[in-house]
């Protein structure tokens, strides 16, 4: 552990709280342990059992045996949306979230600090502005002794808005691919994938083929300038609808969904949505997720009916999830998340 770096991470958390508090957001402290976590097909929650105490033999009260499956949250999303439905307008939650089976590759830990914030009656634009301003504010409040050209130019760019690019623009600029005609057309996309030297198997979905191209040719360049010498914070938005289960479709073109990601350097910092508030559509997407989990041989559980019931009252909201540990990494030019954590995953689990 490096004492200076650990302290910087703590300072980042305080600066983030201060930013949202000053702007009239109310901090929520949502539960970490829930009965019905999200069912994203590629996330694995940690499961345990919540049990009521056993009563003494011979007690006059009815024996209450209660044992309930419970999981650590992978994100506070459901609770936050229920709170929006209950009447809050601008809320944020900053706390540990838990995801199993993530690679220990220097950018993940099974336990990590996730910030989420939500606004009622808002869209992607407001989220992007919030994120830019929040990062600038954190930079202004932090002191680091680490130096590198990337950090220096990052710290200096606090008054410029971040670059904004649609997924289609990014595919065109970095991979030379025209996305429009390929939307929803797996055969055409497969042909392009082969031309770009990617492997195509019959079981590869449209999304799989898209990612092979995107990850190979676009993602590594997104958060950088042309010459790859400086970070260029970039919002990537307007995703093909299949990749945004919880987002509203773009009213101008329903083949796209209103989702945004923030990339800085090689890191994905944030993932945001104009949130879907139609319970029927949401239920349909949940059923699809569950089916895919089953197909992948993964455990499934009931859909959160309370969540679906709350959706209409949530209305037209926007929300975003942001990696706090990763922001701390950027500030100090850390190559691995372990540099800013007091105890690495290997230290905690591999002894």
């Amino acid at each position: 552990m490096n004492l200076e770096l650990i302290k910087i991470r703590t300072d980042v958390v305080k600066a983030i709280r201060r930013f949202f508090d000053e702007r009239g957001f109310t901090e929520m402290l949502t539960p970490r342990l829930v009965g019905l976590p999200g069912q994203e097909p590629y996330l694995d929650p940690f499961w345990t059992t919540v049990a009521l105490p056993l009563l003494e033999r011979g007690s006059r009260r009815e024996l209450e045996s209660g044992e309930f499956p419970a999981a650590l949250i992978t994100s506070p999303e459901y609770a936050m949306k229920k709170l929006l439905a209950a009447g809050f307008d601008k809320i944020y939650d900053l706390g540990p979230c838990f995801r199993n089976r993530e690679p220990w590759d220097g950018t993940h830990d099974p336990e990590f600090l996730l910030l989420e914030w939500y606004r009622k009656n808002a869209g992607l634009e407001e989220l992007m502005t919030d994120a830019e301003e929040m990062i600038a504010s954190v930079i202004a409040r932090s002191t680091t002794t680490r130096q590198s050209p990337e950090i220096a130019s990052f710290l200096a760019m606090t008054d410029k808005p971040f670059r904004r690019m649609t997924v289609a623009d990014a595919m065109k600029q970095y991979a030379g691919i025209d996305l429009e005609p390929l939307l929803g057309n797996r055969e055409a996309l497969a042909k392009v994938a082969v031309e770009h030297h990617q492997t195509v198997r019959s079981e590869d979905s449209w999304d799989d083929l898209f990612f092979k191209l995107f990850l190979s040719e676009v993602e590594p360049k997104l958060g950088w300038n042309e010459t790859k010498t400086e970070w260029q914070p970039t919002f990537l938005y307007r995703y093909p609808a299949s990749m945004a289960a919880l987002a509203r479709k773009d009213p101008a073109d329903p083949r796209y969904a209103l989702r945004v990601e923030l990339h800085i350097g090689d890191l994905e910092l944030a993932n945001g949505f104009a949130e879907l508030a139609d319970p029927t559509e949401q239920r349909k997407r949940f059923e699809e997720e569950k089916a895919l989990r089953s197909k992948l041989g993964k455990k499934t559980w009931a859909i959160d009916e309370n969540f679906l019931a709350a959706l209409p009252a949530m209305g037209s909201a926007a929300g975003i999830a942001f990696g706090v540990d990763r922001l701390a990494m950027l500030l100090v030019g850390a190559v691995s998340i372990n540099e800013i954590l007091p105890f690495s995953a290997r230290e905690r689990f591999q002894n």
Partner: protein, 186 residues
């Protein structure tokens, strides 16, 4: 057939366009999506470099290559020069092919070179190597309760690594050449 999870630096993959040596790879799960392995590979014959991304559930064809134990001699305009002590044959690898690993090479040290049809295609350094610390801040009688507090140090070759605070200038440290991390005192 092998799995993309078997991909490591310097292995050779065969596909319809020929043989490719893996230069870099990374496991990626895009936006809570499926697991992929993004691979940068270089064609052994043409030198063409590409990024190919595999789903972890795919099969790939990993080819066996010859490994030769060679001694590093010197660096010049041609690149890094090695000699096979068994037959005194010399080979050279370009700066580009050796890349970041070049900074760890020390005169007369031994390393494995993978070759295909006699041509050197990748360098494999010993996973752990000893270096002298050239520059670092004062050794502090540390808070040994945690035993884990680190500071930056520069070792031979200008390489910067994180070391425990009790390490002094002039001391030898063992470094993992794959990750660039301190392992232990020499």
């Amino acid at each position: 057939m092998a799995s993309p999870s078997d991909i490591k630096k310097s292995i050779v993959i065969r596909d319809p366009q020929g043989l490719w040596v893996v230069v870099e790879f990374q496991h990626v799960n895009p936006g809570k999506g499926a697991a992929f392995v993004r691979t940068r590979m270089k064609n052994i014959q043409t030198g063409k470099v590409l990024e190919v991304t595999y789903k972890t559930s795919e099969s790939i064809d990993i080819v066996d290559v010859e490994h030769r134990r060679m001694q590093y001699l010197y660096h010049d305009a041609m690149g890094y020069n090695f000699m096979d002590n068994a037959n005194y044959e010399q080979v050279s690898m370009s700066d580009e092919d050796v890349g970041e690993q070049g900074k760890y090479l020390r005169e007369s040290m031994e390393a494995n070179i993978s070759t295909f049809e006699g041509r050197p295609i990748a360098l494999e350094l010993p996973r752990k190597m000893t270096f002298k610390v050239i520059q670092t801040t004062e050794a502090v009688a540390g808070n040994t309760a945690s035993g884990n507090i680190t500071k930056e140090a520069t070792v031979e070759g200008g390489i910067k690594i994180q070391v425990p605070i009790f390490i002094k200038e002039g001391e030898g440290v063992i470094v993992n050449t794959e990750t660039g991390e301190y392992v232990e005192r020499a």
